[in-house]
Amino acid sequence: ENSPAPLPERAIYGFALFLGSWFGFILYLIWAYVPETWLFSLGLTYWPQKYWAVALPAYLLVAVGIGYILLFGINMMSTAPLNSTHTITDNYAKKQQQKKFQEEAIPALRDIPISEVNRTFFLPEK
């Protein structure tokens, strides 16, 4: 019941969002460009300062630019350093249970210790 297929309800939501975003955009353009005296003469006096019509997009773009750098920095900070045990194992691997070996069955999935992996990769001469 969680398929991404188009449904009648989703079409209605999409159209409502489309109309809402167009309305918001036209309102923003009116607020930014129409002189204050004209708006006052219509009786609409309670608007935010026009300074914000320029400041908010500027803030938003700088935030997006800083977000790129911030994400890069967060990724670097959460990478485990070379001397931590998280590069070798984790809680799931420590608590795993060994399943009994059955003849002619595919062995169960498990985390192989790094010593064993190293011996298999690097020790055989051929």
Partner: protein, 187 residues
Amino acid sequence: MEERPYRSASGAPIALRRRQHSASCRELSVRCPRLQLRSLSAVTSAVWLAAYGLFVLSQNSMVLSAAIFVTLIGLIIYLHFVKIDQESLLVIGSLGIQVTSSYASGKESTTFIEMSQVKDVVINEAIHMQKVIYYLCILLQDPGDPQGVSEVVPLFQSSKPRLDCLVEVYKSCQEILEQRKTAPQSG
């Protein structure tokens, strides 16, 4: 005793030297790439050009003498604390593992790990500065848990040899570490 050329992870030439002192004692040293004359002169020229630019703007001759001072002190600090000349690993079968780093100024820093604390010496892969590198490390035994690892000690951090060099070092270490299992436990 033999010395073979290899490459570091960044492509600089390094050399691995193996010495077998006895059946259960081996020393493996990796010689790091030397300080390049062109990088030294590039950094010195950049600092002195910047100082000359400041001098032209401010007409204060102290800037020039400060730049010379900074360059000299910076070079001494770099050679004594940062630039590692050679990293060596001495594995003594019944005793332990000794890791020595010698700096370009002659300073040597040594760490010794007793054999009962050493679980294994393995080649691990990890993410380091937007790259995945292989590095050799000593796994220390967790006293409470025979299967557990309490600490990871990375080796050859400054020279960062590539996998072919690491496999040689790994095989040499494993030959000595295997003697632990066959030899009878005493003491």
